[in-house]
Amino acid sequence: MEVMMKSSKFILMVAVAALSLFAVLNVFRNGEAETSQKPLPSVSAIDSTKCIAPASFMRANHMQVLHAWEKSVVREGDRVHIAANGSRFQKSLGTCLGCHNNRLFCFNCHSYANVKPKCWNCHLSPMETP
């Protein structure tokens, strides 16, 4: 009898879980339907005096900057980036993420724009940090 109880409870739980999953998925689907009106994902405020370049430039060109950094560090050993205002930075993903330390900083935009950069195949993703 008790076993019966348990199994029926179990079925109930599974059903509730499935229903809620369905609901959640549907919410996402609704969200997707109106992507055109969706605002840009918000990111935490950044002290722009410490940025290597204006945010508008970085928003459009960060991938080129990262590629250029990767190339010059790995291939030439040139590890120091000198910004337009003369401040110096180490060319590293860690430099960016040291300031942009919101875990979702990369992911918000990338999932919004549906791009899948391969950085985290090897580099530790901010989502995976303890």
């Binding site: 410490k50 790995v74 110096r88 180490q90 860690g94 530790l124 901010p126």
Partner: protein
């Protein structure tokens, strides 16, 4: 000996550290990913100025000790695949027969036959692996280190038979599944690329000695710039008879062994 090596390093790098303080003003290491330690060499390096080299005093290498191997593999997130087919190694212990298969003195003592000899990438001056790589992903750095650019490697694996020392390993599957105790300070590799010892270029840039050198309890390693006539390694090379692996191939290895 250890302290002297460190001193040599500090001397060489003192200038860089002072310059690095300037860098610090623009850098807030608030978040610990791959930590952005300041580069010791602030300026763009001059190609050919430095040539890193290593001497291994095999007489000091103790049987059963795996500290250098463990330290290296841990520090660089080297996966620990157990089956021989997919094993990945940057540094490992081997027998005299396998490390020096072409050595003319084949009648060596029992003690030498039983001694362990460390195998690692020789960072050859004339490296066959960099020559065969179609994309230049395996390339010779400005400081003599043979480095693999994991961003560029296509995984054609021609470098593997090109290397006469078997120093390259291929990632037959996703290495992240087999990393036992991952460190956050160094990236992993990914499925489908070749990897090998990097002479700890990641540590050299922070002014540290390679992980294996640091980890050895017997101080069997000497590491330094072979182009610097007063460096430790030059002293050791000049005062000892050393051996290179398969010298007849003309690859000019940067790793030397004292037998």
């Amino acid at each position: 000996m250890m302290n002297e090596q460190r001193r040599e390093f500090i001397k060489k790098t003192a200038l860089g550290v002072f310059a690095g303080l300037g860098v610090a003003s623009g850098l807030v290491p608030a978040f610990s990913l791959e930590k952005t330690a300041l580069p010791v060499w602030d300026e763009k390096p001059v190609p050919g100025k430095i040539r890193w080299g290593m001497v291994i005093d095999t007489r000091q290498c103790k049987e059963g000790c795996q500290q250098c191997v463990t330290a290296c593999h841990h520090e660089h997130n080297v996966p620990a695949f157990k089956n021989r087919k997919e094993e990945i190694r940057w540094i490992w212990k081997n027998s005299y027969k396998n490390v020096f298969p072409t050595a003319t003195n084949s009648a060596v003592s029992k003690e030498i036959q039983n001694r362990s000899f460390l195998s690692l990438c020789n960072h050859c001056a004339d490296s066959p692996c960099t020559q065969i790589c179609p994309t230049g992903a395996t390339f010779k750095r400005w400081d003599g280190i043979v480095e693999i650019d994991y961003h560029r490697c296509v995984g054609c694996r021609f470098c593997i038979p090109a290397c006469p020392y078997g120093s390259l390993s291929f990632n037959w599957q996703d290495p992240r599944t087999a990393i036992v105790d991952p460190v956050t300070a160094y990236p992993t590799r990914e499925q489908g690329v070749v990897e090998k010892c990097n002479f700890c270029s990641d540590r050299l840039v922070k002014g540290l000695l390679p992980a294996c050198v640091d980890a050895c309890p017997e101080q069997a390693f000497t590491f330094g710039d072979m182009n610097d006539p007063v460096s430790d390694i030059r002293v050791v090379l000049e005062s000892n008879v050393t051996m290179q692996r398969k010298p007849e191939l003309g690859t000019k290895p940067s790793v030397f062994y004292i037998i």
